[in-house]
Structure formats: structure tokens, C-alpha cells
């Protein structure tokens, strides 16, 4: 069991008041708040040893480079990758997917080939593949989903074939919270020798992620959704694949030698880290991962499962509330609508009651289209939220119903 009182004091922003009310932050799917240790670590970078990494001959650059590489080791350990060579820092999930779509795609995808994604994907795991398909004359195939957001695995097995070059699948749906059977999806592709990319933007913060156990070929996530700073993300890739892929962006640090005739690229992971990376962000991210590691990933998962079940029970009991994505396997996200009330109206009123939720299509328009709706209200919980906050949400919804009835 986690000590919620203690946890909440670790996050300074949770003490904020909005419109004179205690903040109830239920937009963790968009970004999570930062514990003091992360804020302090970032401050330490800039007040004590800020310096460009891998370049300077001086003392500060030494410290910054060491801390940056130490951050890479912490990320490696956190997702249980085999080597730090397989951990590439970038700006976030979107950059990671684009990196793979461009460099893996450049090398391995051609005319008539197919990329498989699912009906649950965020735009970031759709558009880069569409762009790749357009460049290469390849086709995008989509695993369909049921009304509850569960993927049709038989259909998936049927569309996998000789032309499939890659499967790109979400670890958990940002719009509905549904967790697809990722392990089964990977195993099926593995049988046919097809690489799999897992979009971990909504996966990595909710429990233990072990990339070797999953046996995925790529895993991407964003720092800011896992209690770290913005503008930092991670691309994990299996060494064999990363070695075979051409660099994505050219620039400093990704090269060994440059002449006007020829450039020799640097080794992994630097080959994919062109230009000055967000080293302060990487160091901050490491602090975040250490923090949640200390809280306990299993404890976090348990606390979030409790919030999800309590919130599902509370919201289901309100007449006129419809929850979308009623799968038995979910992260702590509830996507819902209120009968006769537009989601934007509900969000605006909840905001004025101090309850922060997200409304709209959640960058997953195909999910909404599939469900025949034009958006939802999304409450996304994490371990620092409380049952009392769920009650505040439920009271807010009651108030919305009263106002718009």
C-alpha cells in the first residue's frame, strides 16, 4: 500500500487551488505532474553542472555527460533492455515513432508492402505510417475493434502475411484506456518474423514494462507522461535492427568523421541522437523513474486499479452517463459522455469546479468515428489521485447534468 498523504506532498502542484477550489487533476493521460525530486534534479543541472555533453574537455561537461549516460542506464534498467546501446533519447513518443517510420521504413519498406496498426491508435501512431506508405507505395492495414474497444485478434492473424513489414501497436489506448493483448500480438508477429513497435506513451507509467519479456522490437515513450520533464522521450530498439537502420537525422554527435566526400556514422546509440540532445530532460527523466521505482511499480498499479474500479462504479451509478471502452483490461482512464450534454460544455463546467479533465477526440479521431461519436470526456487517474477526488468528479458531473438538463 502506498502512503497517499506522503505521496501527495511529493508533488507541489497538487496543493494548488483553481477558481478558489482545491485542484483535482484528472488529466494525467495528457501529462503527469512532477515530483519535487524531478524539479530539484532539473534545477541542479542548471545551477551546478550545465554544459554540453560529449563535447567539452572541461570539468562541467564531464559531469553532464556522465549524468546523461547514467540516465541512459537508469532507463535501460527501468524497461529491462539488454544494453544502453539500445536506448535512444529523443523528444518524445512522436519522435520515436517518426524515427522508426523514417529510418526502418527507408531501409525495409517498399512498394506493395504492408504496415499493420490497430483501430485504437493515437494519431502519432497512424500518421507517420501513412506518410511512409505514401512515400513507398505501401499499404496501411488496421486491426478492427469491437464496440468496447477490444481488438479482433482473429482478424489480426488473418491480415499478417508475407507483405507485412511491421506491426505498430499501442500498449494502452489513450482515448479509452483499453489495453490490447500486446504480448499475444507480438508473439504472433514473431512467429512470422515480423518486427513489432509498441507505443508505450500510455503504458510505461502504469506498471512494470519489460521489453525483453514482451519481446517487442521497438518500444517508445514520453518522459512527461511518466512524471518526468517535457521534451524528452525514449526509443528502445533491438540492437540488430538499430544497427541495420540508417540514421534518421544528420548532425553533430551522430558522426565519427565528416569530410565533404563521406561521413562515417557514430555507433549506437549516438547514431540516432543528432544535435545537442535534451540532456537536462534525460537527467530529469531518470530522477522520475527512480522516484516511481522507489514508490513501487506494483503498488502504483494496485492503487490505480482501485481508483479505476471505484470511479467506474461511481460514474456508472449516475443516470445518463455512458462509459466507452468497457474492457476488462484497462489502464486508469475513463472515457464517457453525459446524455444530452456536449463534452465541451461538461469540461468547461468541471473546470470551473476545479476538476481538470480532457474533452474532445483525444488525438484519436478514428476511435471516435468507429464509436459513432464526436468526442468524449476523459478522466485519467494516476497513483497520486484519491477516492475523494473521484467523488469530486462525480459531484461535478451531477452539477453538469443539473445545469444542462
Amino acid at each position: 500500500m502506498i502512503d497517499i498523504e506522503k505521496i501527495r506532498t511529493d508533488f507541489p502542484i497538487l496543493g494548488e487551488r483553481v477558481y478558489g477550489k482545491d485542484l483535482v487533476y484528472l488529466d494525467n493521460g495528457a501529462t503527469t505532474q512532477k515530483p519535487k525530486v524531478v524539479i530539484d534534479r532539473m534545477e541542479e543541472v542548471f545551477t551546478r553542472y550545465n554544459s554540453n555533453i560529449h563535447r567539452g574537455v572541461h570539468h562541467l561537461s564531464d559531469i553532464a555527460s556522465r549524468e546523461y549516460e547514467q540516465a541512459r542506464e537508469i532507463v535501460r534498467g527501468f524497461i529491462n533492455a539488454g544494453s544502453t546501446d539500445e536506448i535512444i533519447f529523443n523528444s518524445g513518443t512522436t519522435a520515436g515513432i517518426n524515427n522508426v517510420a523514417c529510418s526502418f521504413g527507408e531501409r525495409f519498406v517498399g512498394r506493395g508492402d504492408e504496415i499493420v496498426i490497430s483501430a485504437l491508435e493515437h494519431h502519432a501512431n497512424i500518421v507517420p505510417w501513412q506518410m511512409l506508405c505514401e512515400r513507398k507505395g505501401a499499404t496501411l492495414r488496421v486491426i478492427p475493434m469491437s464496440d468496447d474497444g477490444e481488438l479482433n485478434i482473429d482478424h489480426y492473424k488473418a491480415i499478417l502475411g508475407k507483405s507485412t513489414r511491421l506491426v505498430a501497436i499501442t500498449h494502452a489506448s489513450n482515448a479509452l484506456g483499453v489495453v490490447p493483448p500486446v504480448k499475444e500480438i507480438i508473439a504472433e508477429a514473431r512467429r512470422l518474423g515480423i518486427p513489432v513497435l509498441v507505443d508505450g506513451a500510455q503504458g510505461v507509467q502504469h506498471g512494470v514494462v519489460d521489453v525483453r519479456d514482451l519481446d517487442c522490437d521497438f518500444y517508445v515513450f514520453s518522459g512527461h507522461k511518466v512524471y518526468g520533464p517535457t521534451g524528452i522521450g525514449v526509443l528502445y530498439g533491438k540492437r540488430e535492427l538499430l544497427d541495420d537502420m540508417p540514421p534518421w537525422q544528420g548532425g553533430g554527435d551522430m558522426v565519427k568523421s565528416v569530410t565533404f566526400e563521406k561521413t562515417e556514422y557514430n555507433d549506437l546509440p549516438f547514431k540516432f541522437e543528432a544535435g545537442t540532445t535534451n540532456y537536462a530532460g534525460a537527467i530529469g527523466l531518470a530522477a522520475a523513474l527512480e522516484y516511481i521505482g522507489a514508490v513501487g511499480l506494483e503498488e502504483i498499479a494496485a492503487a490505480e486499479a482501485d481508483l479505476l474500479s471505484y470511479a467506474t462504479e461511481r460514474l456508472s451509478a449516475i443516470k445518463g452517463v455512458t462509459i466507452y471502452g468497457n474492457s476488462s483490461c484497462k489502464i486508469s482512464v475513463i472515457s464517457f459522455l453525459i446524455d444530452g450534454v456536449h463534452q465541451y460544455d461538461a469540461g468547461m463546467v468541471l473546470d470551473k469546479m476545479g476538476v481538470a479533465v480532457r474533452t474532445g477526440t483525444h488525438c484519436a479521431q478514428p476511435v471516435m468515428e468507429r464509436l459513432g461519436i464526436d468526442g468524449t470526456i476523459r478522466a485519467s487517474f494516476c497513483f497520486y489521485n484519491t477516492r475523494h477526488e473521484v467523488d469530486r468528479l462525480a459531484e461535478g458531473i451531477e452539477k453538469v447534468i443539473e445545469m444542462f438538463r
Binding site: V341, H342, Q343, D345, M348, V349, G360, T361, M403
Partner: protein, 141 residues
């Protein structure tokens, strides 16, 4: 009545409430009271897509004045739409392009017009001005 006078009137109406909920209730009532837009006018060429809510705006030009009919799928947005129509509909193109919409800020609805809100309102104002310019050009030509 000049556009500034209508804006002053709106500010006056909202000034009776300092509680946010009451202001929203007033806005919701205004949205409800606005004349329904004919469903046949809710065509793709008159829609302003936002990621949060959708606005429809239909212009007519009559004796040198632009008449706007508008609607939204969200009620709070619809309330703000009704205010914009109240200030700018039935005006000459010059009045429409020359009016600074200061009342929005005064009644505390500025955040609804932030570009990041994507509720269609900011684009609606731009579109109203574009229609005014287009009608004026057509009239001049």
C-alpha cells in the same frame, strides 16, 4: 445602436454575476434562446471545425448589411456565438471589420477564444470579417 453600445450592454448583463456558475448559466440561457439555425444550412461549406466543438456560420447580404445566422453543437459555445451575432449581425462590412470585440475579455470569456481551445470561435470571428470583406468587394465591383 453602435456596436460599442451593444458590447456595453452585454458587459452590463454579465456584471450582475460574479460567480462563474451563474455566468455560465446566463450563457447557456442565451445559447438556448438564440434562434435555431435551419438544419439545411448546416452544410459542410458553412461549418467551422474545431477539435472541441463545431460552429456553423451562414451569411446573407441585404441592402449593404451582413446578416449572420449561426449555431454550435456545444451550448456554451452557442451562447458565445449568440453574443457575437448580437454584436456583428445586421452591420455594414466596414462596421464588422472595424469593430474591436473587447466585451469578450471584459466578461471573462477570453480563454474561450484562445487558439488552443479549438472550439471554432476564433475562426468564426475571422470568418465573419472575411465574409464582410468579400461582400464589400462584390458590392464595389
Amino acid at each position: 445602436m453602435k456596436t460599442d453600445q451593444v458590447q456595453e450592454q452585454i458587459v452590463e448583463e454579465f456584471s450582475q454575476f460574479d460567480d462563474w456558475m451563474e455566468r455560465y448559466e446566463l450563457l447557456i440561457d442565451m445559447g438556448r434562446d438564440m434562434e435555431q439555425m435551419d438544419e439545411s444550412l448546416k452544410r459542410p461549406d458553412f461549418v467551422i471545425e474545431g477539435c472541441q466543438s463545431r460552429v456553423w456560420l451562414y451569411p446573407e447580404f441585404n441592402e449593404g448589411r451582413v446578416i449572420f445566422t449561426a449555431d454550435s453543437d456545444a451550448l456554451i459555445t452557442r451562447g458565445i456565438v449568440s453574443l457575437l451575432v448580437r454584436v456583428l449581425s445586421g452591420r455594414t462590412p466596414d462596421e464588422i471589420t472595424g469593430t474591436e470585440l473587447w466585451f469578450i475579455d471584459k466578461i471573462g470569456l477570453r480563454q474561450n477564444l484562445s487558439p488552443t481551445r479549438s472550439n471554432g470561435l476564433l475562426s468564426m470571428i475571422k470568418q465573419m470579417r472575411l465574409y464582410a470583406i468579400a461582400f464589400k468587394a462584390k458590392e464595389g465591383g
